[in-house]
């Protein structure tokens, strides 16, 4: 019990620190792309610190409970998922059955809470933002799950049993080949990267908070500590999603040798910087364009990858 609480605290705080540092990487890379200098490394920490000291306002038209509770639940959900994911990555053999499914559900909670908080704030901009966030969630969730299924099919054991345990997923990949090493794997990873971009609410998929159009949309009424909690949730999510992709598609962290940590850091940073670069080289899309993109383009690609993976697994062709 005490060990569990300690693991949880370490994972949550560690991910928070990591996530805030990655926020700085994001801002710094953005600044360099735009030929600017950018903020100092501690800037995201200062932002959080400042927000906790600011006044907490609640609009008269808001439903207080939902409005104030939503950021707390979102942060809690992400913290729990950090514990599950890091535990699975660091000690693959001790993870529980079906942790991948729990994780997918938990990672959906922050988006749901964003909608709840926005809808209970009573602000029309937030209402528009919430409706867009909902449509966005409906768009990316299906291709995301399909892409993860590809990895599960590709890592099925020789007897064809599928595993929904992250630990087994990584163990099989480390013993044979990463799930991404093959046509279906590459397609699935590409789909998953775009879904990650949408899940993190980064440009071109940031229409839920479009700041010059609907004034930060879903977050328009949040201030002070609540806003700080939202920013922390987003920073932690930003650290978690690349980790999930590395674990599912790219054989996770190999703890057997020193170069395992190095390659892990390389893969992880590559995905992190990719998010920033996509964000800096694309304009924001409209919500209908996004839905069309995910449903009519990415979902068929993910389905095709899944079929390829199943055929490959049935015929024993590893490069499919």
């Amino acid at each position: 019990m005490a060990m569990g609480v300690l693991t949880f605290l370490l994972a949550a705080v560690g991910t928070l620190v990591l996530g805030l540092l990655l926020r700085w990487v994001d801002r710094k890379v953005t600044a360099r792309v735009q030929w600017r200098v950018g903020p100092p490394w501690y800037q995201p920490f200062v932002d959080i610190l400042k927000l906790t000291g600011k006044e907490k306002l609640m609009p008269a038209s808001a439903r207080g409970t939902g409005f104030l509770l939503a950021p707390v639940v979102g942060l809690a959900a992400v913290s729990v998922s950090t514990a599950i994911l890091w535990h699975a990555v660091l000690w693959p053999q001790t993870a529980f059955m079906g942790d991948l499914i729990v994780l997918i559900y938990l990672l959906m909670l922050p988006a749901l809470m964003t909608m709840l908080g926005a809808a209970s704030s009573g602000n029309p901009h937030a209402a528009i933002g919430a409706s867009r966030e909902m449509k966005l969630l409906l768009s990316y969730e299906l291709p995301m799950v399909l892409a993860i299924l590809v990895a599960i099919v590709r890592t099925a054991g020789t007897n064809g049993t599928l595993t929904f345990r992250l630990g087994d997923l990584m163990a099989v990949q480390q013993a044979t080949a990463p799930a991404v090493a093959g046509i279906s794997g590459v397609l699935a990873l590409l789909v998953a990267i775009l879904c990650m971009q949408a899940k993190l609410g980064q440009v071109p998929f940031d229409m839920a908070e479009a700041e010059c159009e609907i004034q930060a949309g879903v977050y328009v009424e949040y201030s002070g500590p609540s806003l700080a909690m939202i920013l922390m949730t987003r920073a932690m999510l930003g650290a978690l999603m690349p980790l999930l992709l590395v674990a599912v598609f790219w054989d996770g962290l190999y703890t057997g040798a020193w170069w395992g940590y190095l390659t892990f850091a390389g893969k992880y940073l590559l995905l992190v910087v990719l998010v920033t670069l996509i964000r800096n080289t694309n304009p924001r899309l409209r919500i209908d364009q996004v839905m069309r993109f995910f449903w009519y383009r990415l979902t068929p690609v993910a389905v095709a990858a899944l079929i390829l993976a199943i055929v490959g697994a049935a015929k024993g062709i590893t490069w499919l």
């Binding site: 801002r27 600044a31 735009q34 030929w35 600017r36 200098v37 950018g38 903020p39 100092p40 800037q43 200062v46 932002d47 610190l49 400042k50 000291g53 600011k54 006044e55 907490k56 306002l57 908070e209 700041e211 010059c212 004034q215 930060a216 977050y219 328009v220 009424e221 949040y222 201030s223 002070g224 806003l227």
Partner: protein, 146 residues
């Protein structure tokens, strides 16, 4: 307390409100975000919602139409919040001072709802970006005394 004011000084988020400016001041405000001045070095960013703001950058003469909205905007910001009155217009309505569509001056408008508001003035038509950075530095110095 010291930590809080330190954090506030290091991370001023700006909400930009145009209350009837000729657009020249606004262009100069946007200049601050460009590579030449890059105000994000000091942790300052433009935000989309007044609820997130620590600095209310007001440009323009404050017309009759804009006046109640500016007051509402100020009340919506989370305190402590510094008001930057940018440009001759925002200082004393400049060349438009006796026109038919004037409300009150920006500082009077805001003092009407909060007598203790922190208001900084940046003269110029339009002020140079350097002047605005100077005002921001002064605001940071002032926040030390909070």
């Amino acid at each position: 307390m010291a930590v809080k004011t330190w954090a506030l000084r290091k991370s001023l988020w700006v909400y930009h409100a145009n209350t009837g400016a000729c657009n020249n001041c606004d262009i100069e405000v946007l200049e601050l975000l460009t590579p030449r001045y890059d105000i994000e070095r000091f942790g300052m960013v433009l935000v989309g919602s007044p609820r997130h703001a620590d600095v209310l950058a007001v440009t323009g003469v404050c017309t009759r139409q804009a006046m109640p909205r500016l007051q509402e905007l100020y009340l919506q910001t989370a305190k402590p919040c510094v008001v930057l009155a940018i440009g001759s217009c925002a200082l004393d309505q400049g060349i438009f001072t006796e026109a038919y569509h004037m409300g009150a001056k920006v500082d009077e408008t805001i003092r009407a709802v909060d007598p203790n508001a922190i208001i900084m003035y940046v003269p110029g038509c339009p002020p140079k970006p350097e002047a605005m950075i100077g005002a921001a530095v002064k605001a940071i110095e002032l926040l030390k005394t909070l």
